[in-house]
């Protein structure tokens, strides 16, 4: 509430600051704008930045640290018997206070001291918000007044504003790098915790996957086993089926569209592939699970084969359909990048169109097509919804496409959906799988993008 008010006040102050800076700059030279170093609007932006930016930084800093700060203050006021525990009970205490403060009732009868602490937490939080409002306004007005006093015909307002904007632009372009670092760190950090419990070699080369951990040591099957080979094999099987569908169809579709189809036909065919590419994966998943899988099973049964109702074939086929437009648009690009002179040379020697394509265009485009296929493979490996909905959950180590297999992404999704404690090996194993997935797809993408780039340079 107070935060919204503060944001509105800040927005108002920056607008006022802009007007103030502008009019003061004009007034300072008596209307002869030529005598200003920078145009009046830059003076306006200068004051507006001084009004808005410091307060906004304070706001961001406060938002990041307030909860922690208030909690520390509350905890320091609690008796030792509650606070002096190990890290786990302290975490529990924190969660209790937070729950009570937010009005969430837990099953247990709360300790009166904890209730008092929760009330204190709410009070301090409110106090903090109010003081932020007051301090934020003071900072903003202070900045505004300071900047307004500095307005002067010789003030290099443009340079200062532009430098600030430039710094902002650099920071924005760093967000992408930060995201990558965030992904790597979060995966590594959690995966290391997982590998502290499970030997990495057992994980990478074990052949038995059953992540269910028992609550007590004496239960049957109490030790979860984390051999990920069945998952890798399942992923490869489904990816293989998908590629068997997507590569021939996608490649031939690209060839047909770029070499054979008339422009009129192409304006019809291109949108069809684009629509296929734009359909959300969850829709493909629904289609695979409710239409394709029963269809495959019925066909198999009528042929006397025993087909699982979650067969790898159904999931793989639908995934292949999803990837067709991906393969075809990438191959379309590389086929079009082959210079016309190569084709003309081939026609001049009397080759037919298909001979030109098979013997000249495709070999010339081969590196690009291989790269496209690699990108498609990485896409298939990382695809989650189709396999989560249509592939099985049991980790079978099989090469039979009619059996149910499970994949890396399916396991990540099922291990992490629902409420779990964050530090059981079962939950952490998802991060181990995520790390493997990230490394594999990153390698494929890096190599493929490199090849595409190299290849483009060759013909440019």
């Amino acid at each position: 509430m107070q935060l919204t008010v503060l944001l509105i006040i800040l927005a108002l102050l920056t607008v006022i600051g802009y007007q103030m800076g502008r009019s003061r700059a004009v007034a300072s030279v008596g209307g002869r704008i030529v005598e200003l170093h920078s145009v009046p609007s830059y003076h306006g932006f200068y004051v507006a930045l001084w009004a808005g930016l410091p307060a906004l930084l304070l706001f961001a800093f406060w938002g990041a640290s307030e909860g922690w700060l208030v909690m520390q203050m509350v905890l320091s006021g609690l008796p030792d018997r509650l606070v002096n525990g190990d890290a786990q009970s302290l975490g529990l205490l924190r969660a209790d206070i937070l729950n009570l403060a937010h009005g969430v009732t837990t099953g247990r009868e709360p300790d009166p001291e904890v209730v008092a602490a929760a009330e204190r937490y709410v009070r301090l939080h409110a106090l903090g918000d109010w003081s932020l409002l007051v301090i934020g306004c003071c900072v903003a007005i202070g900045g505004l007044l300071y900047a307004r006093r500095r307005i002067d015909p010789d003030l290099r307002a443009r340079n200062r504003v532009e430098r600030t904007v430039n710094i902002a632009l650099v920071i924005c372009s760093l967000v992408a790098i930060l995201t990558t670092i965030g992904i790597v760190l979060s995966l590594l950090f959690e995966a290391i915790r997982f590998f502290a419990v499970v030997n990495p070699l057992d994980f990478l080369f074990g052949t038995h996957w059953s992540p269910q951990m028992a609550m007590r040591a004496d239960q049957v099957g109490s030790s979860g086993s984390f051999g990920a080979i069945p998952l890798f094999a399942g992923t490869l099987l489904i990816t293989g089926i998908a590629m068997a569908v997507a590569v021939p169809v996608g490649l031939m579709a690209a060839i047909f569209m770029s070499e054979y189809a008339s422009p009129g036909l192409r304006t019809w065919l291109k949108p069809i592939l684009e629509v296929l590419a734009g359909i959300p994966t969850v829709v493909y998943g629904f289609f695979a699970a409710l239409t394709m899988a029963p269809f495959v099973r019925d066909v198999g049964n009528s042929l006397g084969l025993s087909v699982s109702s979650e067969s790898a074939l159904a999931a793989g086929f639908v995934m292949g359909v999803m990837i067709i437009p991906f393969v075809s648009s990438l191959s379309d690009d590389v086929i079009n990048a082959v210079p016309q002179s190569l084709r003309d040379g081939s026609y001049g020697l009397g080759a037919t169109k298909s001979e030109t394509i098979r013997l000249v265009v495709l070999p010339a485009a081969l590196p690009g097509i291989v790269a496209a296929i690699m990108l498609a493979v990485s896409r298939a490996i990382g695809e989650t919804m189709i396999v989560t909905m249509a592939a099985g959950l049991t980790a079978n180590l099989t090469a039979n496409p009619l059996d149910a297999v499970t994949t890396v992404t399916t396991q990540i999704a099922t291990l992490l959906v629902g409420d779990q404690e964050f530090d059981s090996p079962k939950t952490l194993s998802a991060f181990g799988l995520g790390l493997v997935l990230f490394v594999v797809t990153l390698t494929l993408n890096m190599v493929a993008l490199r090849v595409v780039q190299k290849y483009r340079e060759k013909y440019d």
């Binding site: 490649l251 569209m257 189809a261 959300p280 994966t281 989650t384 992490l416 409420d419």
Partner: protein
């Protein structure tokens, strides 16, 4: 003197045979291409066809007409269930013994008493009168009326027993069952009962998520693109950023979900299931898409524009903000809308951050628990009831309608503002 007509080798038997073979190969190749395109088109038709044929029935819902006597005492005790049941027994002639009556109780949706209560609360003068009300039927009655539960299967394998079917026949005979447009689907949140389940909660959740995504990824994405395209020096550092952005665009979406789980939920302690977190994750995911599209749009603005602006004394920043950006804006906008459409259809990262919970209420803020349309589809697809299957298909149609709308807007913008230099 006769001229010896020697056949040229281009007319020899072997040659024409070879030529025939080559032309046949040419035809085969061409047909293979057509088949490939045909398969792709066929799959699209099958996919959309199966969804529409499965789902169009979800837009209708069976209702039962009841003559409810709003007895004053029962109303005061809020015993609307009993009122509705009394009215139902009166309509069905076979409802004489207890077993039949108990069986009939399932005909009405468990939400029907609340419907009636809302009606009475809105107009208290109804108390004491007899009113004709149409209330929602239970999903199995609905499915039966739509013909998905067949009466020729043996009773033990059917979800409706003979008593209920007889009662339905009686109701149909006196015109007490009708099929109306299913408004619940558009106005309600999720529910365990198919006839009370709606998509509105998920639509609002998706909208909130997309707002966060847009507010974060569009300004940051455009700023990053402007920096990389217009200001950045060409050195190893910017090369690294570029390679990094291209790779980020190809990282599987579920990895972004893991990032959100570990960083936003684990490290910053933001609430689970909140559109705020969903939007943050989606923003990181769409950022590369927007940066790449914006860079393409900026690159398409010819250098002469920049040179002219710089020539009349504009600073580099003024050149960009006054001239280059406005000219590139349609392209940037198109890329942004396509990125948003992708974010709207994305499911996997939202599963990771807990937006997959069963939430009845329609979310009112960025930190409320919420779900999104694709996640709702995922959850409904898992439900065993036949009625949820058709609602899943209907939800897919609604999602596709939103996507078509967004992509249509993008195409329109591209067509309208496209500029060839």
């Amino acid at each position: 003197m006769s001229v010896a007509v020697t056949k040229s080798r281009y007319q020899s038997e072997e040659f024409s045979a070879r030529l025939r073979r080559r032309y046949a190969a040419e035809r085969r190749f061409r047909i293979a291409g057509m088949v490939a395109v045909g398969i792709a088109s066929l799959m699209l038709v099958v996919l959309l066809g199966s969804i529409i044929s499965k789902g169009y029935t979800a837009f209708w819902q069976a209702q039962i007409r009841l003559e409810v006597t709003l007895d004053k005492q029962q109303v005061e005790e809020r015993n609307y269930t009993a009122l509705l049941r009394q009215a139902l027994y009166a309509q069905v002639p076979t409802a004489t013994d207890r077993a039949t009556r108990r069986s009939l109780n399932d005909l009405l949706s468990s939400g029907a008493p609340y419907e009636l209560e809302a009606k009475v609360n809105a107009n208290p003068s109804l108390v004491g009168t007899t009113q004709t009300v149409w209330v929602r039927a239970d999903d199995e009655i609905d499915q039966f009326m739509k013909g998905f539960i067949r009466r020729d299967v043996p009773e033990s394998e059917r979800r409706l027993n003979d008593v209920k079917i007889a009662a339905i026949d009686a109701l149909v005979a006196n015109g007490s069952i009708r099929s109306t447009f299913n408004t619940t689907l558009f106005t309600a949140g999720d529910s365990r009962e198919p006839e009370q389940a709606g998509i509105l909660g998920a639509v609002v959740g998706s909208a909130l998520t997309l707002v966060v995504t847009m507010l974060l990824s569009v300004p940051i994405g455009i700023a990053a693109a402007v920096y990389l395209e217009e200001f950045a020096p060409k050195n190893r550092w910017t090369d690294l950023i570029e390679v990094n952005i291209n790779n980020l665009a190809a990282v599987p979406s579920i990895i972004f979900g893991l990032l959100g789980l570990a960083v936003f939920l684990g490290f910053f302690g933001l609430p689970r299931s909140a559109p705020l977190v969903g939007g943050l994750v989606m923003a990181l995911m769409t950022l590369p898409v927007i940066i790449i599209a914006s860079r393409v749009a900026l690159k398409a603005v010819p250098p002469s524009i920049r040179e002219a602006a710089l020539g009349v004394g504009a600073s580099p920043l003024q050149t960009v903000t006054h001239h280059v950006l406005p000219l590139a804006l349609p392209g940037i906008l198109t890329g942004t809308i396509i990125g948003m459409a992708r974010a709207l259809g994305e499911t996997a990262p939202l599963l990771m951050i807990g937006m997959v919970a069963f939430i009845v209420d329609i979310p009112g803020g960025l930190t409320d628990s919420a779900t999104a349309i694709p996640v709702q589809i995922y959850m409904w697809a898992d439900s065993p009831e036949r009625a949820f299957t058709e609602r899943t298909s209907a939800a897919i149609m609604i999602l596709l309608a939103f996507l078509i709308l967004m992509n249509g807007l993008a195409v329109f913008l591209r067509k309208k503002f496209e500029r060839r230099w």
